[in-house]
């Protein structure tokens, strides 16, 4: 009996001492580790925002945004982290905006695009064309920016994603309103509209009847068939079902989906302008 007591006591003592020691070490090292991680992150932001004081992280759906403030509490920049499907896997990248929503840097964090081909998205030549642009620019292939021939899918995916993220930043942090279309107030009729997709403009024909969208047809599109098929006819069907442009774009082809929605929006806002 005494023996078992002695054995158990030894084990308990060893266990308690171990736990106490580890708890102490843990409390000692955790703040150091946290500090180091923050210092590392700050250094990575130094590329674009050397004078920031504090930052606040906001997550919107799949994107992450770090809002950077200076000592006066003014917004001096936004660092967006987004993921976009490229030609061969996901592309994770940072998009740095200044306080007015103008792009000041693009940093590709990871990608698996083909070396020498899709890899062009990491080059200065490709990235340079985005500098200084904001939500006020079309950010559309063929208009103010270009894809790179031979790497069309990689580059157009990046263009579409940058356009999308710029829009999200403007809408959520810069107080830019996206047009709310009241479908009821659109007069009956058939209207055309177009908006950029991933591979070029998407043109749609929208029919309004009795204050409701009754038909959406795609007249023209240059999307990648394997991706496009994820958003069509899903998106038009959802718009008609909900009578709303606020549909879920998390298909396998977000840029095409957004393109379709924006084209319909374009058609309807054009109708409203003409009507009023």
């Amino acid at each position: 009996m005494r023996n078992i007591l002695r054995l158990s006591l030894t084990l308990v003592v060893v266990g308690v001492v171990s736990a106490a020691l580890l708890t102490g070490m843990y409390n000692l090292t955790t703040p150091i580790i946290a500090e180091r991680k923050e210092a590392e992150y700050r250094e990575s932001l130094n590329c674009c925002f050397p004078d920031f004081d504090t930052f606040e992280t906001v997550e919107i759906e799949e994107d992450k945004f770090d809002l950077l403030y200076d000592e006066n509490g003014d917004l001096i920049g936004i660092m967006a982290t987004a993921v976009q499907q490229g030609y061969d896997g996901d592309i994770t990248y940072n998009l740095a905006f200044d306080g007015e929503g103008k792009i000041i840097d693009i940093i590709i964090i990871s990608h698996t695009e083909t070396p020498g081909v899709g890899e062009v998205i990491t080059t200065d030549d490709f990235q340079q064309q985005f500098m200084g642009k904001s939500y006020e620019d079309p950010l559309t292939a063929g208009e103010d920016v270009d894809t790179v021939s031979g790497a069309t899918i990689s580059t157009s995916s990046m263009i579409g994603s940058i356009r999308r993220v710029t829009g999200v930043v403007a809408e959520n942090f810069l107080g830019v309103e996206s047009e709310e279309i009241d479908i009821n107030s659109v007069p009956d009729g058939v209207y055309n509209g177009s908006a950029p997709g991933a591979g070029g403009p998407i043109t749609v024909e929208v029919e309004i009847s009795g204050g409701e969208i009754t038909r959406i047809d795609i007249l023209e599109q240059n999307e990648t068939p394997t991706y496009y098929i994820e958003s069509y006819p899903v998106i038009p069907e959802q718009i008609i079902a909900n009578q709303n442009l606020d549909v879920d774009t998390k298909t396998g082809a977000t840029i095409s989906a957004e393109g379709i929605i924006n084209a319909v929006r374009d058609a309807l806002s054009g109708a409203l302008e003409d009507g009023s």
């Binding site: 023996n3 002695r6 054995l7 030894t10 060893v14 580890l22 580790i33």
Partner: protein, 208 residues
């Protein structure tokens, strides 16, 4: 004078005659896994030696208080505690090394070298001798790791002091195509096997 010899013996035995890797064939897992780069091999050796010395010390210190029936669990808890401490220290002060060594840091606790020395030596011998033994075996382990990683890095990557591009020295010029085999798992096995053969030959030649 005699006591000096004993300590010296304890110290040097683990380096050559009873080298844990080349002679006792212990601690194989980390030896093969982390020796892709010299700095990683060296770092792992240091971390393991730290735990070895600490556990040898503590176990030897308290050897009269630990009943034999529960000695293995006690040793395990003591060793695991020091391994956790080392893991925390690495995470805080050497994050690059910590990431490179990965899951092999916690695996130090099942490195047969440490439990083996605790059982065979530290639990029976006085503190100073256990300390010397820990240092000796630790140095032997570091030496083995460094030798293997030197071979693997020079042949497999063409550098020393990689992978940090800031410190890496490309021995054969930046465009050299190294024997990638040695950076792979297969190369680790083969390199270690050949090195062991070499050590056997040398030891036989010098009657060690």
């Amino acid at each position: 004078m005699k006591s000096d010899n004993v300590y010296l013996g304890d110290l040097t035995r683990g380096i050559v005659k009873e080298n844990p890797v080349f002679r006792l064939v212990l601690g194989m897992c980390p030896t093969l896994a982390v020796t892709v780069f010299i700095v990683n091999g060296f770092g792992m050796g240091l971390a393991t030696t730290a735990v070895l010395i600490a556990s040898n010390l503590v176990i030897s210190l308290f050897r009269k208080f630990i009943p034999s029936e529960v000695r293995i669990p006690c040793f395990i808890v003591i060793i695991a505690t020091f391994v956790t401490i080392i893991e925390m220290v690495l995470q805080a002060f050497q994050p690059v090394l910590y990431e490179a060594l990965g899951v092999f840091v916690p695996l130090i606790v099942v490195n047969c070298i440490i439990l083996g020395r605790a059982e065979a030596f530290a639990s029976k011998k006085p503190v100073l001798r256990s300390l010397a033994d820990g240092v000796g075996v630790g140095i032997g382990f570091i030496v083995a790791l460094v030798i293997l990683s030197t071979v693997r890095e020079i042949l497999g990557q063409g550098t020393i002091l990689g992978p940090d591009p800031a410190s890496a020295i490309h021995l054969f010029g930046a465009n050299f195509e190294p024997m990638a085999l040695f950076a792979q798992p297969s190369g680790a096995f083969i390199a270690l096997g050949l090195l062991m053969g070499l050590v056997n030959v040398i030891f036989k030649r010098f009657n060690i």
